[in-house]
């Protein structure tokens, strides 16, 4: 399971946790997150996240 960070506001998307509030189940791989999903904190596009090693 990998983590991705929004380059704009620093929010972390963890594949293990998903983002249930937006209907993205725990364990959802990044490539399976819908393309129109936006950063919940700052609203930038999915494309503006980068993989980070934590």
């Amino acid at each position: 399971m990998k983590t991705y960070q929004c380059i704009v506001c620093g929010l972390i998307y963890d594949e293990a946790t998903g983002w249930p509030a937006d209907g993205i189940a725990a364990g959802t791989k990044w490539e399976d997150v819908p393309a129109d999903w936006e950063c919940p904190d700052c609203g930038v596009a999915k494309a503006d996240f980068e993989m980070v090693e934590i």
């Binding site: 960070q5 380059i7 704009v8 506001c9 620093g10 937006d22 936006e38 919940p40 904190d41 700052c42 609203g43 930038v44 596009a45 494309a47 503006d48």
Partner: protein, 392 residues
């Protein structure tokens, strides 16, 4: 092979470098920056206090890491002195460099008010990571728990700082010549909601007046307002706005307005010279209107398009509306400000639904061209975005 030279190392410069590298594994990239070149996101500066973040913690990668990650040569602590657009040479404090294409991403400078008083030069502004470090040091000397902070300007940045510092236990006074906070961007109903929320947070709003002087007094500062009020402050922060940095562009005779004028592809008036980010003045509609867009979303959009153009695929910058998200946790707002030319003849319509306020702006033809909502979340944001351009 002459490189693509990028002047600057902020979000605009690095976004562009990343996008170019995605498209072209071989392109030579040279990034020239006057600072240390560490990567950080400027929007984080206005809500880093509540998260107790030090300046160093906001820098996610050093220049060395960025150079490796992107595959670029990065020259730090290097000032660009002049751009020769005829011979395509950039003259710097570390020598002269030829470019194939040049991208100016030098950002904006904080506007300084002409204040009187013997401490006017102690007024701080935060528009760079180094400013943030200075501000933090001044705010919390000797690990004091709280400080009295006077903020000049209740626009986006002023309100975000005020909310963040108040949440952190500081005593904040917020001053603005308008009668409401965020007056330039938000509908009056939402500005009123924000005013109530900031007041409830303990922030002292002094509206309809301006600071006239800042003096030393009792080991701190005395701020005098045009209405005669006098405030005591440990730190005075100016957040009255940004002015695109035009020095290089003007010395190179590029066309400038409020920012460096760029066309639909991000091209300046000189061949092979582009600009984006806070220093640029973009074309915002098909009728030739232009405006600086000092937000993140246009940077990312422009970076993608300009990277394509630089690597051989002419691409227009499609500046779709993106909502501006105001990071005021006591009253989370999202908005698309109505275009300047529509304001005089259009109207706001306000709808209150439970604890949520939605304001829609309709132009003279009855087309929805702006909105604001608080409290905001993704679903309502997207619904309002989808309604832009429709008539009701």
């Amino acid at each position: 092979m002459k490189p693509i030279i990028i002047i600057g190392a902020g979000m605009a410069a690095y976004s562009l470098a990343r996008e170019v590298r995605k498209l072209d594994k071989a392109a030579a990239l040279l990034i020239i920056t006057a600072d240390d070149g560490g990567f950080y996101s400027k929007p984080m500066l206005s809500n880093a206090f509540a998260q107790k973040k030090l300046a160093a913690q906001l820098i996610s990668q050093s220049a060395v890491q960025m150079a490796e990650q992107i595959g670029a040569h990065i020259m730090t602590k290097t000032r660009v002195k002049h751009i020769d657009t005829n011979n395509k040479v950039v003259d710097t404090s570390s020598g002269a460099f030829d470019y194939a294409q040049l991208v100016i991403a030098v950002g904006a400078q904080a506007i300084r008010l002409g204040l009187a008083g013997d401490a006017s030069d102690h007024v701080l502004s935060v528009n760079h990571i180094d400013d943030y470090a200075t501000f933090r040091d001044k705010l919390l000397p000797d690990q004091k728990a709280s400080a009295r902070v006077t903020i000049l300007g209740a626009g986006l940045i002023g309100c975000e700082f005020a909310d963040d510092l108040a949440a952190h236990g500081h005593h904040v006074t917020l001053i603005d010549p308008n009668v409401l906070p965020l007056a330039a961007l938000a509908a009056p109903a939402l500005s009123q909601g924000l005013q109530a929320a900031l007041s409830a947070r303990g922030i002292d709003l002094r509206l309809g007046t301006t600071a006239t002087s800042v003096d030393h007094a009792d080991g701190a500062f005395k701020v005098t307002l045009a209405n005669g009020d006098v405030l005591a402050a440990d730190v005075v922060l100016s957040a009255v706005g940004l002015r695109p940095d035009l020095a290089l562009a003007q010395s190179a005779q590029l066309a400038t307005g409020r920012g460096i004028i760029v066309d639909s592809h991000g091209r300046t008036s000189a061949a092979d010279v582009y600009a984006l980010g806070d220093c640029a003045e973009y074309r915002i509609d098909n009728e030739g209107r232009t405006s600086p867009l000092p937000y993140i979303a246009p940077i990312l959009t422009a970076a993608r398009a300009i990277a394509k153009t630089l690597t051989g695929e002419d691409t227009e910058i499609d500046l779709k509306h993106s909502p501006v998200i105001v990071k005021t946790p006591s009253y989370p707002l999202a908005l698309v400000p109505p275009p300047q030319h529509a304001i005089a003849t259009g109207r706001w319509e306000t709808e209150v639904d439970g604890d949520r306020t939605v304001c829609r702006f309709f132009d003279a033809q009855g087309v929805m061209v702006g909105f604001g909502v608080a409290p905001q979340e993704a679903k309502i944001r997207q619904a309002l975005m989808a309604a832009l351009g429709t008539t009701v």
